[in-house]
Every structure is written in structure tokens, then in C-alpha cells.
């Protein structure tokens, strides 16, 4: 099918105004929040219904054109970047909360609903959709599901996957399924479980039943300032190990404190080496005693200052500072590279020490703002994109951080996903057989590999090749001369 025909056909399906074909407008869709690799899509469509999505997918399937689903494009791993061009299906117009069933603690939503707007919508009912990525004012629920996103409160309440009850999907062959009726423990393979976090590679999510969680009766937020990162990290380990079960446990280092201080006038002493933001929640009974224990623990590990946020306004201000910390980096540097990794919690001090060395080695400042309670690091490598040497050093520094995380027994992504950004690191973490099992699973959904090609699987040996290797019955050991990590 030539381009003109394709455009005409798509316009018939979604309406003339819902097809973007203008070269300048297409540039918006060249990448997501990870701007390392830019590729323009052939076309973008903005369907409004599941049927429209299905028709677009059928059309693309017949023409063998790649498809890339897209929410708000806030992803940080290149998940929504159309590596081989093709059609981007953006969910912008599918933004309705369709049903709130508070009695059964669930809601049915379209994928383009903005995470924050869903929470705002639910609050009057006394409920929340727990996943709260820092990008929540922009990112979509569909993107959250596709990336199995996290957020500060996922420490206590679990990441997106724990809050998804059923998905309606347009599969790569254009058929439409509900993975379940949304009740617990449906027999059969856990389709919504494997689809959550599948990074847009297995179809388009067009509706979801999400779990609602009752808002807690009471919350306590405390900000504790520490002389250095090791004392703050030890506090984190202890708070977790003693069973205080905080709802959130976030850390900022000195550079990050400096950045948010300027923006939010928190008046934090910039001599502090690290700040911990700790939130406790539950029924009000006993919560103040627990708060006292937590603040006591902070002091035991050398906290210079412990500031409880007393009013809801104060709490909101502290949280705003944390959630907008990335934005505040703009005050320090023109660009940053956010590296998302996880290590076992006891390895935080060692890993962060190494991050400090990496900063020295590559002569780039690195700030840390992260989900400490989960061991989920977010070193922000500050650099100037226009300076080629700085860009190169930023990439090398990220590489060093990822390798260190693996060395410490950790993994290469806690919440942002693999996308293109980290696909070549997958071999450092997994064996060929591990990857081949994932590739086999992906191919059950998308045998022709039209959905979001070029993601997650290493560039040198993509999904198709891995799956074929597996089907041929060969083991990694049988493939002479390809040691793990050989493709990096």
C-alpha cells in the first residue's frame, strides 16, 4: 500500500482529523522522554474507540507495517520511539473513566486517562489508583500498565501490576480480547500479568479494570536531614528491617536538595548530604508512636534535623519538591540522563559510593533522587547535550552505573523499562535461554513482530532470532562462541 492510500484508508477508519501525516507534526512523535534515538513515524493515528484501534491494527497487519502504541510519551527508555517508522497509535483521545464500582473497589478506564486525573476523579469517592509515578500529571494509565510503572507509594502497595484486574487488548492480529472478567484467580495463564510490563510489544491496551485502594485514614510525613549518604542509607535499611512498613521512603542527595531548595523554598540546609522523606499511613491509632520511633531511628543514625510536615499543606509541599525534583534539575544543568536501576537494599551504600566515583571518573555531576525503600536508584547524570564529549561521558557513566548495579546483585530497571535504552544490557542480566523464553512469549502474541519492533531484546539478536533458536531446540551452550554479554 502506498502512503497516500494508507492515509486515505486510515482516515476512513478514525476520521480525517485523527490522522497526523504532516512532517512537522510527526516530529513530536520521534521519541519519548528518552531522546537518545530519534525516529519519525510514517503516520500517527488518534483513535477514539477499541473498534477503531482494531481496524487500524488490521490495516497495518495486512500491509505489514510496524505499530507502536503511545500514551503521553513520558517514557524514559525509548519505549514509544518508532524505531522502524510505521504507525504510532496514540491513545490521547481515549481518555474516559468509564465506570467506578467503589463497592467492588474497581474502575474501568480507557488507556489515555492521565494518571493524576484518575486519582483526582477517585478522591471524592475516598479511593485512589495507587501507582503514582513522578510524571503522574502527564503520563497515562495505558503507559503505566505497559511499563508496569512504579512510584513512591508502590513501596507499601505494590507496583502497577498489583493494581490491574483485567485488560482489554487489541492483539497484533486485530482481534480484541478481555484477558479476564476482572475477578480474582481466574484459571488459565495470567494474561494480564504477562501483558503488564510488556512495553507495547504485544498489542494495544484499549481498556482496563483497575483496582482501587481506599485512601488511608491518616498520614504522617517527615523529612530527615543527614550529614551524608551512608547514614541516610543505613536509616533506610533499618526502617525497612524493623518493620515500620512506611508507605513511602524516598531519598535525595546534596545536589538534589540544592536543586529543589531553590524551586520550593524549603529552606533546607545545603550542608546536608542527604534527605529522607518518610511517609507513614494507616488508621490514626498508634501512628504518632510509630512516627516517634521512625524519627528516633533517624536520630540514632545521625540525622542533623528531623522535620515532621504537620499540616496537609506542608506535606503536599514536601511531596511536590520530591516529585518535581527532576524538573528542578534544569536549574543545575541543561540536560540530564536518568539511570533507573535496583539493588538489594543493603547494597545501597556501596552502590551509591560507586556512583560518586563514577561522577569523579567521568567528570560529570550526578544527583540522586530515588525510591530508597525499594532499593530503586535514580542517578541523574548532569551534562550538556550540545557538548559531544559530555554526551559521550554521560553514556559511559550510565554504563558504569548499570554494571555496578548488576555487580551488586541488582537489575537494570526498576520502573522505567528496557525499551531501546537498555536492550543491549539485557545480556548482562540474562542468559540466552532466559531471553529466548521471553522472546517465545512475545511471539505468542505477535508472531510477525509488527508490534514495537526493536525493543527489549538485544540489537544484535532480536526477538525473532531468539525465539527461532529456542524452537530449534538449541540451548545457549550449544551455540558455540556466544558467551553471555557478547552482544553488548
Amino acid at each position: 500500500m502506498d502512503r497516500a492510500n494508507l492515509i486515505a484508508e486510515l482516515k476512513r477508519v478514525v476520521g480525517a482529523r485523527a490522522v497526523v501525516d504532516d512532517a512537522a507534526a510527526l516530529m513530536t512523535y520521534e521519541a519519548d522522554g528518552c531522546v537518545m534515538d530519534l525516529h519519525a513515524p510514517t503516520l500517527v493515528v488518534l483513535p477514539a474507540t477499541t473498534e477503531q484501534v482494531a481496524n487500524v491494527v488490521q490495516l497495518a497487519q495486512r500491509a505489514r507495517i510496524p505499530i507502536v502504541p503511545r500514551g503521553a510519551g513520558t517514557g524514559l527508555a525509548g519505549g514509544a520511539t518508532p524505531m522502524q517508522g510505521g504507525i504510532v497509535i496514540a491513545t490521547t483521545r481515549m481518555d474516559q473513566v468509564l465506570e467506578v464500582d467503589a463497592r467492588n473497589r474497581r474502575a474501568r478506564v480507557q488507556p489515555g486517562v492521565i494518571n493524576w486525573e484518575l486519582s483526582q476523579y477517585l478522591a471524592p469517592y475516598g479511593y485512589q489508583f495507587v501507582p503514582d509515578p513522578s510524571s503522574q500529571r502527564a503520563c497515562t494509565v495505558g503507559g503505566n500498565i505497559a511499563n508496569n510503572s512504579g512510584g513512591p507509594h508502590c513501596l507499601k502497595y505494590g507496583t502497577t501490576t498489583d493494581h490491574i484486574l483485567a485488560l482489554r487488548m487489541v492483539l497484533p492480529d486485530g482481534s480484541v480480547i478481555w484477558t479476564s472478567d476482572g475477578s480474582a484467580d481466574r484459571i488459565g495463564y495470567d494474561l494480564q500479568g504477562v501483558l503488564t510490563g510488556s512495553e507495547g510489544m504485544c498489542g494495544v491496551i484499549t481498556e482496563a479494570w483497575v483496582r482501587l485502594t481506599r485512601l488511608p485514614e491518616a498520614q504522617r510525613v517527615v523529612l530527615a536531614l543527614f550529614p551524608d549518604i551512608p547514614s541516610a542509607s543505613q536509616t533506610v535499611s533499618t526502617v525497612v528491617a524493623r518493620g515500620f512498613l512506611p508507605a513511602a521512603l524516598e531519598m535525595m542527595d546534596q545536589l538534589a536538595i540544592k536543586a529543589v531548595n531553590g524551586m520550593y523554598r524549603l529552606g533546607l540546609p545545603e550542608s546536608a548530604g542527604a534527605a529522607l522523606l518518610i511517609e507513614l499511613d494507616g488508621v490514626s491509632d498508634g501512628l504518632d508512636d510509630l512516627l516517634a520511633e521512625v524519627t528516633g531511628t533517624c536520630r540514632d543514625f545521625g540525622a542533623m534535623e528531623v522535620r515532621p510536615a504537620k499540616t496537609p499543606e506542608e506535606q503536599a509541599q514536601v511531596w511536590a519538591a520530591r516529585k518535581n525534583a527532576f524538573g528542578a534539575m534544569g536549574r543545575l544543568s541543561p540536560s540530564y540522563y536518568l539511570v533507573d536501576t535496583v539493588v538489594p537494599r543493603t547494597r545501597l551504600p556501596a552502590t551509591l559510593a560507586r556512583v560518586g566515583e563514577v561522577s569523579q571518573e567521568f567528570k560529570l555531576p550526578i544527583a540522586n533522587v530515588f525510591h530508597a525503600g525499594d532499593g530503586n536508584l535514580h542517578p541523574l547524570i548532569l551534562f550538556d547535550r550540545r557538548d559531544k564529549s559530555q554526551l559521550e561521558r554521560a553514556l559511559l557513566a550510565a554504563n558504569a552505573v548499570l554494571r555496578e548495579s548488576i555487580e551488586q546483585g541488582g537489575v537494570i530497571s526498576g520502573e522505567h523499562g528496557i525499551g531501546v535504552e537498555k536492550r543491549d544490557y539485557m545480556t548482562l542480566l540474562y542468559s540466552t535461554d532466559d531471553l529466548a523464553a521471553m522472546a517465545g512469549l512475545k511471539q505468542c502474541f505477535d508472531p510477525h513482530e509488527l508490534f514495537n519492533p526493536g525493543k527489549v531484546f538485544p540489537a544484535g539478536r532480536g526477538c525473532g532470532e531468539l525465539a527461532a533458536l529456542r524452537r530449534s531446540g538449541l540451548n545457549a551452550a550449544d551455540v558455540a562462541g556466544t558467551p553471555a554479554g557478547a552482544w553488548l
Binding site: G193, V283, L290, G409, I412, G414, M438
Partner: protein
């Protein structure tokens, strides 16, 4: 059909011969729905397990994985059964860093043994399934088992952070890791959880742990009518209280537990002592408002014992003769109707239902007399499975949504159909 002797001889080259049995008497305890395997084997390591599955493939042998044998009544009788692979020797704690609150264990470890191992560390894997002394981690994962405390803690689905499996043909693969948050690639843990041993044999699993709660208390509220109990549950669901279990027990269940009365709610709260107290006060007041006929707060020993026994009500191993255990699911708000339908169904079939319902999770377990036409059970609302020794049960409920995809997944992971053939949903 593979010749047991040939297979056993081959297997004895990869696993110490005393752990390979082809003698029908020795194999008899591993029968599934009366079908005795030709061989059984208990590999001692991941590598041995892989070697066993490689040989099984070479010999075209049909394999059934076996943990504690507590859930082998689930599913159809096997279409073929040549080899039972027992995980009992894969029962080590492989890695435990207490301060990280993570653990890696062999699939053959009984959850009760894991509980005992963790107790001195004051940590827990908060799943309370039936028969903990026998039920193994691998079996619990494969069957997506649950327990009453799932209301507060979820199931192993939420706690599983890493997995090692051996696929049909002996390929070893891993997913996840030893960290509590991870999106590095596809979530393979979800694939194997609830796959009933049809995709791979689980060899080891990693979990996140929780510290033991500082306090835990249980309130047993008796009601004259199920309607009052469910009205209370509905009211409780709307509060900001966070009970960790809320189990509805019908008359037969209460009797089995040694209590009188027509129905009851067992409500548990765990956490800070003051928060637990608050739960007890508020829940007792709620019960009173919903005309509970009695509210009893259990002491520590009583409550621990009671929950073990409540969990065992849904065991599918030693079912009384001519009874069947069914699992029904729905939404919390529909469980009251489900429970009424089950009572009526049992009466129609000349017996009594013994029910425990995780009502706020939308789950009912019911032990029922086997109807003259066992397929009549299929009419029960939200039937997921029916387990028992009677023939011709509707072993699995209706075909699940997305079934074609499930068939594709099965074909991809076990193309020769060697793992638990014929036992899962027809067509898988």
C-alpha cells in the same frame, strides 16, 4: 507410552539410583486420579532436574511435577503419565539476606518449614494455604494457591520476585531477580504462577518477605442470618480499616471448627498494637450494629489455631468420600448471592455445603456432596475448579477469556505436550 524400565534405567544415569523408582508398589503413592506413573524420580539439584527433563523428552515420556501432593486432585485425570518428578530434594533455602527482606528457596520446600525457618528472624512469607506442613512452594505457585490473609497481603503472585524453571526438554531459564522492584524484561513470574505445571517445572523461587506484625488479634462474630454478616462486610469494606483477613464461615464450616451458630465472620487485624486495638473496637461495634448474636475476641493461641484450621477448610487432599471441593469467584458484592446459591444447590442434592468465603476478595470455597450428575456443578456461579475423586466432574469452569492465546503459549513452551498432558483446561 514409554517403557518404565527403559526410562528408569536411563534416569538412573543422571540421578542417584535410590531416587529412581519403577516398581509399581513404590510408584503407587504418586497416583493421580488412580493412574499410577511408570516411574518416579526425585532429582537433587537444578542440573539433575534439567537432565531428567531432557531424558523425558528423548523418551517421549509424559511428566507430572509433584511437590507435597496436596493438590493433585485438581484437574482432569492425566491423559498420559509416565513419570512423576518429585521436588522434595529441592528444598533448600538458597539465599536469605535478612536485612534485605528477600529469600530464595528450592521449589520443594514446604511452606510450613519456611515459616519455621523465618520465625527466629521475625520475618514471614505471608501466605497461609491449607496443609502447610506438606504444601511446597513450587506447588503453591503452580496452583496459584491462596489463604485467608490474602486480604491483607495478597498471594504469592504479589510476593514472587524471581523464578528458576526447567522447561520441557531440560532448558533452564530464569526470570526476575533478588530485588523487590524490577521491570527488566517480561514478567516471567506471572507466566508460571497458576500454570499448573503445564509450561515448565518450577525449581526455585525468590520472594520478598515481610517483618512479623507486632500484634495480631482475631474477632469471631456470630450472626443469625447470612444477610447480616454480608451487610457487615459491606460496611467494613467502606471504612478505612485494613483487616488482613475477613472470612465468612457457614454453619457446616463453623461446626467443623467446633463452634455453634448459623454463620460467622472471622476478622483479623495485624500491625501496630494500637492500630489492632482500634480495629477490634471498630469491628466489634460494626458487628453489633449488624445484629451479631455474639462477638468473641480470641486469645493468641486460639487465634493462631483457628486460622490454621480455617485455611485447611479449603484443602483438596483428604476429602470425605463422595464430596467435592469447588472454588467459585465473583465480585465482593456478589458473594452473598453465590453463597445462597451454593446452600440451595447442596440442599437440592441432598446434602450440606461447607463453605469458607474470602468474601472481600470475591472467593468462595465450598465442600459439597457430589451430585448424581456431577456436571451439574458447572452451573455454580463463577466456578473455577471442582476437585475430588468422583469421576466426570467439571474439573475446570468455563473456558477462560483469551483461551486461544493460552493454547499458543502452551504450544510454545511445551510443544510436545509432555507436561501434565490432559490435566489442565481441555485443549492445553
Amino acid at each position: 507410552m514409554t517403557k518404565p524400565d527403559t526410562l528408569a534405567r536411563a534416569l538412573a544415569t543422571v540421578v542417584a539410583p535410590e531416587y529412581v523408582q519403577a516398581d509399581p508398589v513404590a510408584c503407587a503413592p504418586y497416583q493421580i486420579h488412580g493412574i499410577v506413573p511408570g516411574c518416579t524420580i526425585a532429582p537433587a539439584s537444578l542440573e539433575e532436574l534439567a537432565a531428567v527433563l531432557r531424558l523425558a523428552q528423548e523418551h517421549g515420556a509424559a511428566v507430572a511435577p509433584w511437590g507435597g501432593g496436596t493438590q493433585q486432585l485438581l484437574g482432569h485425570p492425566p491423559a498420559r503419565l509416565d513419570l512423576v518428578v518429585r521436588t522434595e530434594r529441592l528444598s533448600q533455602v538458597l539465599e536469605h539476606e535478612p536485612a534485605d527482606l528477600t529469600i530464595s528457596v528450592g521449589a520443594g520446600l514446604p511452606i510450613g518449614a519456611l515459616r519455621d525457618y523465618l520465625a527466629p528472624h521475625r520475618q514471614m512469607l505471608p501466605l497461609d494455604p491449607p496443609l502447610p506442613a506438606r504444601a511446597t512452594i513450587g506447588g503453591l505457585l503452580a496452583t496459584a494457591a491462596d489463604g485467608p490473609r490474602r486480604l491483607g497481603y495478597g498471594t504469592l503472585r504479589e510476593l514472587l520476585i524471581g523464578i528458576t524453571v526447567v522447561e520441557a526438554g531440560g532448558r533452564i531459564s530464569r526470570g526476575g531477580g533478588m530485588v523487590v522492584k524490577n521491570v527488566s524484561g517480561f514478567d516471567m513470574m506471572k507466566l508460571y504462577h497458576g500454570s499448573f505445571g503445564t509450561l515448565a517445572i518450577i525449581a526455585a523461587a525468590n520472594f520478598k518477605l515481610l517483618p512479623l506484625p507486632r500484634a495480631a488479634t482475631t474477632l469471631l462474630c456470630r450472626f443469625g442470618q447470612p444477610g447480616a454478616a454480608f451487610a457487615m462486610l459491606d460496611a467494613l469494606h467502606q471504612t478505612q480499616l485494613t483487616p488482613t483477613a475477613a472470612e465468612y464461615l457457614n454453619q457446616a464450616a463453623l461446626m467443623e471448627l467446633g463452634f455453634e451458630g448459623s454463620c460467622a465472620l472471622a476478622l483479623r487485624a495485624e500491625g501496630l498494637p494500637a492500630a489492632v486495638e482500634r480495629h477490634m473496637t471498630d469491628m466489634a461495634a460494626l458487628a453489633e450494629r449488624h445484629s451479631a448474636s455474639g462477638t468473641e475476641r480470641l486469645n493468641h493461641e486460639q487465634e493462631a489455631e483457628l486460622w490454621l484450621r480455617i485455611a485447611d477448610l479449603s484443602q483438596a487432599t483428604e476429602l470425605p468420600a463422595n464430596t467435592v471441593l469447588v472454588k467459585l469467584v465473583g465480585q465482593p458484592a456478589t458473594i452473598e448471592t453465590t453463597v445462597a446459591q451454593v446452600e440451595a444447590f447442596a440442599q437440592t442434592h441432598g446434602g450440606q455445603a461447607l463453605m469458607s468465603a474470602r468474601a472481600l476478595n470475591g472467593i468462595v470455597y465450598a465442600r459439597l456432596p457430589v451430585p448424581t450428575q456431577p456436571q451439574a456443578l458447572a452451573a455454580l456461579p463463577g466456578l473455577q475448579w471442582a476437585a475430588g475423586t468422583a469421576p466426570d466432574l467439571p474439573y475446570w469452569g468455563t473456558e477462560p477469556a483469551g483461551f486461544t492465546l493460552m493454547q499458543r503459549i502452551k504450544a510454545e513452551f511445551d510443544p510436545a505436550g509432555q507436561l501434565n498432558p490432559g490435566r489442565f483446561i481441555p485443549g492445553i
